[in-house]
């Protein structure tokens, strides 16, 4: 379970995240949406313990990330949007290293690593240095590393970027199966059709504040969009009217 309580992050006079409060219970896949610069990545990085909140609290599985970071992070797997990994480690060594950070090693980790590499078609590349991996392969390796220590909660920023259709499908199935087993995922994405098809609930942030929260039906009701899809709801809630000016932009 993830609990955010009045979570705030300020950089000088600029407020990136403004009093965000929400709870993502066990067994839920939560979609975190918003326009560019809305505060999604900052929020996720605070949840992952990479950034310290200016105010408010984050609890992972009931443990406060600021007060007891080690215990909280032991329950967490994080997949960033711009991942960099050690170029001079091989795929299997990277997974072993990540498992080691969670004090896990031995045959179980080896078995799990092989399974994950195989799932994402990386088995043949296990002994190749990461520097020779393509962007998509690196993304698959990072996703594998988030699962290798069997966390209770996964926080993921833009998981589909760089994935081929097969890997994207595998990831969707993996996420669904993972939450069905009682775990929690909080995912930010710009791919609205992905969020619509995968997420149990969706939160939309803008200007660092939560603008809407609920299931697809609840969001439709709050945006008064009838049976429209998430894109229309999103644009209405965030006030985006990009399509209006396209002709003018192209003619400019």
């Amino acid at each position: 379970m993830i609990e955010l309580n009045a979570l705030t992050k300020r950089y000088g006079s600029f407020t990136a995240v403004d009093g965000l409060s929400l709870t993502v219970p066990r067994g839920e896949l939560f979609g975190f949406l918003g326009p560019n610069g809305a505060g999604k990545t900052t929020s996720l990085r605070m949840i992952a313990g990479i950034l310290r909140p200016t105010a408010g609290a984050v609890r992972i599985g009931g443990v406060d990330v600021v007060k007891d970071p080690t215990a909280a992070k032991a329950k967490l797997g994080f997949i960033p949007d711009r991942p960099f990994i050690y170029e001079k480690l091989t795929g299997i060594e990277f997974l072993r290293f990540v498992a080691g950070l969670y004090e896990q090693s031995g045959p179980a980790v080896e078995h799990r690593s092989r399974e994950l590499l195989s799932l994402f078609d990386l088995e043949e590349w296990r002994d190749e240095l990461v520097e020779s991996y393509s962007h998509g392969m690196r993304q698959k390796l990072i996703i594998s590393s988030a699962f290798v220590h069997r966390p209770e909660v996964i926080v993921v920023d833009e998981p589909m970027v760089g994935l081929d259709p097969k890997a994207a499908r595998i990831l969707k199935d993996l996420f669904r199966e993972y939450v069905n087993r009682g775990n929690t995922i909080m995912m930010s994405t710009h791919a609205l059709e992905v969020a619509e098809s995968m997420c149990d609930r969706i939160g939309i942030v803008q200007g660092g504040k939560l603008r809407a929260l609920g299931t697809m039906d609840e969001l439709r009701a709050s945006a008064a969009t009838g049976t429209e899809g998430l894109e229309t709801i999103f644009l209405r809630l965030t006030g985006e009217n990009a399509a209006r000016e396209l002709v003018e932009v192209l003619n400019a």
Partner: protein
């Protein structure tokens, strides 16, 4: 068709100007210079002060030497010219090597290349922009060194107001020529090997060349020239000065042009040679670029060796580290893998080994035997040798331990989102750096003391001090490296040249000096007691060595504590 598109169809093809291509570099440099970062003024003042001291030192040394030369009426000018020629040849070798390495980054590995190569940029303008970028990056340090050097010549020989213009007119083509040659060599190498493999090969060549030069210079034992008995006759010396020069080298042309202006006769030939060679090399370089760049750039996208397995390392070191827990074991294994799989890192160990050999060689040939050399002097030299050994260790720590935290910058997301404590991270960095440094320290001090045949007391004092100093230096390297991280720098070798690196070296020198000063009194008492058969004071011994130990322990622990606090609060969005 809309008007805008129709109008564009009739225009010429777009071709951005050279200055436009260089615009982002200039704007970045300007933004960096204008940034209102806290403490920037203090940093700038300190750097400017140290730079000024360095300039003043070089200028003073050269000016004094040139003063002596001017008094030697027959051979003075010959000597001054020879000295200038030697310095310029060194500059040229450095420039050539540095240009080869810099060109690899600017022409083939830079991050802006994808955008520039995909844009409708004319090949000649791309070449010009990248050549200029290579020239600036590889030559600024030589230019900084050249300023006090040429100034000393100008002042000593009354160069007049036209002298700076003469220097400028020779220095510009002198910098261009190695830039074009270096870039062309890199272009050829990249067409033969993949760029990443070329980088490995170049780092190895650079290190081996530097190591060879150092060894050669040392084995020649130039200090013998300073001994009057070394010369058989004045004629030998003059023959050496008039010996074959290198008339085909640009360094020789610069020397002839500058000395011609200062001492006469004025000759325009060196200027013609410099400028025509620079112009011709640019033309040839550009033609080579047109013929080979596209193919080389494609090859640069290929990667080098990618397969790696470390069964032995994992088994042996893994087993040794098992008592420290899985997390620390994996951290240490990771550190070792990253180091030994990166040619740019481990190849510097070769240079290190050569420097150690030179160091021991120097000690071996110290003139510590003969008349007038007392027991006191023979024993005090090894004690002072500690200062030098400490400085060597500080330089090694600056290169290998100081960048440790900076190099984690881009993987900070992983470390910070895991349950790894920053204490464990610093712990692994500290021990992975300290243990090899300690082995090296004991080897240097033990072997040099053995060669110097020191007394048992001095041997133990040296070993005691160097162990303490090693821990202090490693602690400070971790501490300052964390307090002044360079998270965006990809090249580990550049990190120690930062402001934090400078502060670390200054702090190291202070701690080494402090330790030696604190130990000086008890050592002096002991040696005096041995010479004059008097008693040594136990209290004096305990106080001196105790305070030195306390200083080193504090220098080990306090920087790591401060670094730990800093690391826990660092935020990388």
């Amino acid at each position: 068709m809309p008007d805008a598109v129709a109008a564009r169809a009739g225009d010429e093809l777009p071709n951005p100007a050279l200055l436009h291509l260089l615009g982002p570099k200039w704007l970045t440099a300007r933004a960096r210079a204008m940034s209102g970062e806290r403490g920037r003024g203090a940093r700038f003042t300190l750097l400017a002060f140290l730079g000024f001291l360095f300039w003043a030192f070089i200028f003073g040394m050269l000016y004094r030497m040139l003063g002596y030369f001017r008094n030697a009426t027959d051979i003075g000018a010959l000597l001054a010219g020879k000295l200038l020629g030697l310095m310029l040849v060194s500059f040229m070798s450095i420039l050539l090597l540095s240009n080869i390495i810099t060109a690899l980054s600017s022409f083939f590995l830079a991050r802006d290349l994808d955008m520039l190569v995909a844009a409708p940029v004319d090949w000649l303008r791309l070449y010009g922009a990248k050549l200029l970028e290579t020239l600036v990056h590889s030559s600024w340090m030589v230019v900084l060194l050249a300023v006090p050097m040429f100034s000393a010549y100008g002042v000593a020989y009354h160069g007049g107001w036209g002298y700076p213009l003469i220097v400028l007119a020779t220095l510009v083509p002198f910098l261009i020529i190695p830039t074009v040659i270096g870039s062309a060599l890199t272009l050829l190498l990249v067409n033969i090997f993949p760029a990443r493999r070329t980088r490995d090969i170049l780092s190895l060549i650079a290190v081996l060349a530097a190591a060879g030069l150092v060894l050669l210079f040392r084995v020649l034992r130039p200090e013998r020239l300073a001994r009057p008995e070394g010369f058989r006759s004045l004629m030998d010396f003059i023959v050496l000065l008039n010996g074959p020069t290198s008339p085909m080298l640009p360094s020789e042309w610069v020397q002839q042009a500058v000395m011609g202006w200062l001492r006469g006769p004025n000759d325009l030939l060196p200027f013609y040679l410099l400028w025509s060679t620079a112009a011709a090399s640019i033309v040839l370089g550009a033609l080579l670029h047109r013929a080979l760049y596209a193919r080389g750039y494609t090859k640069a996208q290929e990667s080098a060796q990618t397969f790696a397995r470390d069964g032995m390392m994992r088994r042996v070191i893994g087993a040794l580290l098992t008592p420290f827990g899985v997390r620390r074991r994996e951290l240490v294994l990771k550190e070792l893998r990253l180091f030994f799989r990166d040619t740019t890192q481990w190849s510097q160990l070769i240079l290190l080994a050569v420097l150690i050999v030179v160091y021991v060689f120097n000690i071996k040939y110290l003139p510590l035997t003969g008349e007038g050399l007392t027991f006191f002097i023979v024993n005090i030299v090894p004690f002072l040798n500690l200062v030098l050994a400490g400085f060597v260790l500080a330089s090694i720590a600056a290169r290998f331990i100081f960048p440790g935290v900076s190099l984690e910058g881009r993987t900070f997301w992983l470390l910070r989102s895991s349950p790894l404590s920053m204490h464990d991270l610093l712990w692994s960095k500290f021990w992975v750096g300290t243990l090899p440094l300690l082995a090296l320290a004991l080897l240097i001090v033990g072997s040099t003391n053995y060669l110097l045949k020191t007394s048992e007391f001095i041997m133990w004092v040296s070993l005691f001090s160097i162990v303490l100093l090693t821990f202090a230096i490693a602690g400070m390297a971790i501490g300052f490296g964390t307090l002044y991280p360079q998270f965006e720098t990809e090249n580990a070798a550049q990190i120690p040249t930062s402001f934090g690196g400078l502060l670390f070296m200054m702090a190291s020198v202070a701690v080494i000096g402090g330790t030696i000063i604190l130990e000086a009194r008890p050592v002096y008492s002991f040696l005096s007691a041995r010479i004059y058969n008097t008693e040594t004071s136990a209290a004096e011994m305990w106080f001196g060595f105790g305070m030195a130990a306390a200083l080193c322990v504090a220098a080990t622990i306090i920087p790591i504590r401060v670094a730990l606090h800093r690391l826990e609060t660092i935020e990388r969005g």
